[in-house]
């Protein structure tokens, strides 16, 4: 039992904005009242629900390949010394598993979603998530280039496709469905890409990216998954791609959808010299369509490692940078490209990317529909979120940064015209309450009665700079896990997954397909539930 007294509480999901009140915790939940117990005196502090990261890459085959590929980053990264409580590790652009848990919790984040997991490497992902302490986790399974699904769409067998999708979700022990560059990755296996929405995907006659997007969005809604289709649109990163993004969003009318790292999809221009911001056009459409949510995928200057299932884009990026390139093929499901990258303020394209991320966060009116992410480790590392929060809360500070951009970039962006400042309540929404709602996690992102007692307590500073970087206390499941920057407890968090309904007969369809095409036995393919410690299964009706 625990009481947090005297703090200014920001709990936007329950319409509490900066009220001084007490928060009571018992058995890991927020309760109405407790008698006795420990008291945390939060006078002079702000109390927020623990952060929720809706889109990040912290575990699995691709991220681990990125770790292996960049030993130079690990070597110069801050070291986490092995102690009686903590395991050793390294921070940097791609932190090791244990360090990931410590770093997220150290910011006040308590729930994160690994955004892209192929079923084939789901086992590896869960094994790494089991070694990522403190925080609660969930993962989205990659679907939009799965050839078994695409074959069914080609044959018009939507009913069976739905069963296969549901079966795959459960086999990967995942929480939602991620679609990466629908059709593009499948085409990459032939050395191609899918850059238009209505042309058939290489290797198919009828399947187009549009058809994949609409079918999957429909299936996800039909299955009643708590999180809508998590979509990485086609043409990521390409100049002029805002047209594709707008067309994609139009396809989704009538369905729910979450557009991932929108910043990478909001560029105008025809090439790298003429690239410009089209955040206003994107934001205007987005503001008018409440079926959509998005995350920013903001970029910060500095070292990053780009990792995505968007193989063709990564090959292009490798050709542009001449740096290292990793390309992983994941049999029938997807592939993955990895290229280390440095965002530079002096580079026109990078400067536009930096501006677009912030512009979207400022132009999208409803904070309940745009969330703070950097598409870690693509745009920047997650532990740099406080820098973005500072820029969102302090227009003067932001404009100082804007002034450092090259002249040319200023002409191609609108960031200098924007003077909106986020309030602390709005920050609480984009970092916690909003993503929790979009994920359909009813016990996360708020401090109402019955919510999980994940609480972040910060010193009340007028600007955002110190917020998140130095929480005074972080509570996870009612237990103090971080106090003044020190990890106090490393209990393993939960893993959320859903079990959608599907016709068990679907296995009879899948088994022969597997025996023909896969390198592993059908029986070894699904991840067994026992592999997950602390699984929190939601069985869908």
């Amino acid at each position: 039992m625990l009481r947090i007294t005297g703090g200014k509480v920001y709990d936007p999901a329950n319409d509490i904005v900066g009220e001084v009140r007490d928060v009571y915790i018992s058995d890991g939940k927020i309760v109405a009242d407790v008698a006795g117990g420990t008291v945390i005196n939060a006078a002079g502090m702000v109390v927020l629900p623990g952060g929720v990261d809706i889109h990040t890459h912290i575990a699995g085959g691709a991220l681990n390949f990125a770790r292996v590929m960049t030993p130079e980053n690990q070597r110069s990264a801050p070291v986490f010394q092995h102690t009686k409580l903590q395991r050793g590790g390294a921070g940097g652009p791609t932190p090791t598993t244990f360090a990931t848990g410590y770093l997220y919790a150290g910011m006040g984040y308590t729930t994160v979603v690994e955004a892209a997991v192929p079923v084939l490497s789901a086992r590896h992902t869960h094994e790494e998530l089991r070694d990522t302490p403190i925080i609660d986790k969930a993962c989205n399974v990659l679907m939009a280039n799965n050839e078994i699904v695409l074959d069914l769409l080609e044959a018009g067998e939507l009913e069976r496709a739905r069963d296969v999708v549901a079966w795959l979700i459960w086999s990967a022990k995942s929480y939602g469905v991620k679609a990466v560059s629908p059709g593009g990755v499948a085409a990459w296996k032939f050395g191609g890409n899918a850059t238009t929405l209505h042309d058939p995907v290489r290797g198919y006659q009828k399947v187009t990216p549009a058809k994949i997007i609409q079918s999957l969005a429909g299936i996800v809604d039909d299955l009643g998954l708590p999180h809508p289709l998590h979509l990485h649109c086609n043409n990521l990163g390409a100049p002029g791609n805002f047209v594709t993004t707008l067309d994609t969003m139009k396809l989704l009318e009538g369905n729910r959808a979450h557009i991932a790292h929108l910043q990478f999809h909001a560029y105008g221009g025809d090439d790298w010299q003429t690239i410009s911001s089209e955040s206003r056009a994107i934001a205007e459409y987005f503001n008018a369509h409440p079926n959509l949510t998005c995350d920013a995928g903001a970029v910060l200057f500095g070292n990053a490692v780009t990792i995505t299932a968007d193989g063709p884009w990564q090959h292009l990026l490798y050709q542009i940078t001449g740096r290292k390139w990793g390309n992983l093929d994941v049999e029938n499901e997807t592939c993955c490209g990895i290229v280390p990258y440095s965002y530079k303020g002096s580079n026109l394209v990078n400067a536009v990317q930096w501006a677009v991320g912030l512009e979207l966060l400022l132009l999208i009116d409803d904070p309940w529909r745009v969330f703070l992410t950097t598409d870690h480790p693509n745009g920047a590392c997650f532990w740099r979120y406080p820098e973005i929060i500072h820029m969102l809360m302090d227009a003067e500070f932001r404009n100082e940064q804007v002034k450092k951009l090259p002249e040319k970039a200023l002409a191609k962006t609108i960031i200098a015209e924007l003077d909106r400042e986020y309030s602390l309540a709005e920050i609480a929404i984009i970092t916690s309450a909003g993503p929790a709602r979009a994920l359909g996690m009813k016990n996360k992102g708020h401090l109402g009665i019955g919510a999980d007692a994940d609480v972040a307590i910060y010193h009340d500073k007028p600007d955002g700079r110190f917020l998140f970087r130095y929480p005074r206390y972080v509570l996870k499941g009612g237990e103090v896990v971080v106090e003044e920057g020190d990890i106090k407890s490393v209990k393993l968090g939960k893993e959320f997954l859903v079990r959608p309904r599907f016709d068990p007969q679907v296995e009879e369809h899948l088994r022969p397909v597997f025996q023909r095409n896969y390198s592993i036995e059908f029986e070894n393919y699904p991840v067994e539930i026992d592999l997950l410690e602390n699984a929190d299964v939601r069985v869908l009706p």
């Binding site: 590929m69 960049t70 030993p71 130079e72 980053n73 070597r75 740096r323």
Partner: protein
């Protein structure tokens, strides 16, 4: 001057990266004695291994060094370290200035990723002299390494600037993925010198087993070489320039990258007209 004399035998390698002229020039005797050294994960004091004389100096002489003493002069930026004996791995790695002299031989990674300064090794050196650590884009970016004996594999791997002079023969893959700088080989190299080299220069007085992706370009004595020879002479590496005695054959490559590096091989007894291809 600070003089250290080894007075204890040990088997587990000793890490000496904290013993730097940058620090010792303002350390009194007690401070020098208390300099931390590491053996595995255990920390010791410097005076548990060495007799120590002197203080407040950026000139360090160490007697009785062995190849088990690692990271000597790692990251130093000034002063001088003289090793009477051998040196272990990572000698002068990441150093930005100052000078290191070794009377014996050095192990692998001597001068890895160094930015400036001078390392002289009287004996042989191991592999990866002036190289990039695994994963890094660039190795040595400045400074000079002079080796009187032989050197191991991957000498100057991914180096970007600076000079490496090796009087003896070097191992395989000298100048692997080199991006700039100069490697001078007085007795030639093992297999595949200059593979993947993008820019930079390899000078060799002996025949090199070049890959087929190096193309013969020309023969003669490039003008820059006459100037460069004066610098090399001060480093104890005189190179021939007399065209009546022979010629420098110039090869460009590595064309598989494709690179703009140059390899100059001295061929005694040839003239421009008979330059080989």
């Amino acid at each position: 001057m600070i003089t250290l004399t080894l007075n204890r035998q040990f088997t587990v390698p000793l890490e000496l990266e904290k013993l730097l002229p940058d620090v010792t020039h303002k350390l009194e005797h007690a401070g020098v004695c208390a300099t931390p050294v590491f053996m595995g994960r255990r920390q010791y004091r410097l005076d548990e291994f060495f007799e120590i004389e002197g203080e407040l100096s950026d000139h360090i002489e160490i007697h009785g060094t062995t190849s088990k003493m690692k990271s000597i002069g790692r990251g130093m930026s000034r002063g001088k370290i003289v090793l009477h004996g051998d040196a272990g791995m990572h000698l002068g790695a990441l150093m930005t200035g100052g000078e290191i002299n070794v009377t014996g031989s050095a192990a692998d990674w001597a001068g890895a990723e160094m930015r400036g300064g001078m390392i002289r090794i009287a004996g042989d050196a191991g592999g990866q002299v002036g190289a990039a650590y695994r994963g890094d884009a660039a190795g040595m970016r400045g400074g000079t390494i002079v080796i009187a004996g032989t050197a191991g594999q991957e000498v100057g791997m991914r180096m970007k600037r600076g000079t490496i002079v090796v009087q003896g023969k070097v191992g395989d893959f000298a100048g692997l993925q080199m991006k700039g700088g100069t490697i001078v080989l007085l007795r030639g190299a093992g297999a595949r010198p200059g593979s993947w080299m993008i820019r930079g220069t390899i000078l060799s007085l002996a025949e090199l087993p070049l890959l087929p992706t190096f193309r013969y370009a020309s023969s003669g004595t490039p003008t820059f070489l006459r100037l460069y020879a004066k610098q090399l002479e001060t480093l104890g590496a005189p190179i021939p320039l007399d065209e009546s005695q022979g010629n420098w054959d110039r090869y460009s490559g590595d064309l598989s990258v494709p690179g703009k590096g140059e390899v100059l091989v001295w061929r005694a007894g040839t003239s421009c007209e008979t330059g080989s291809d």
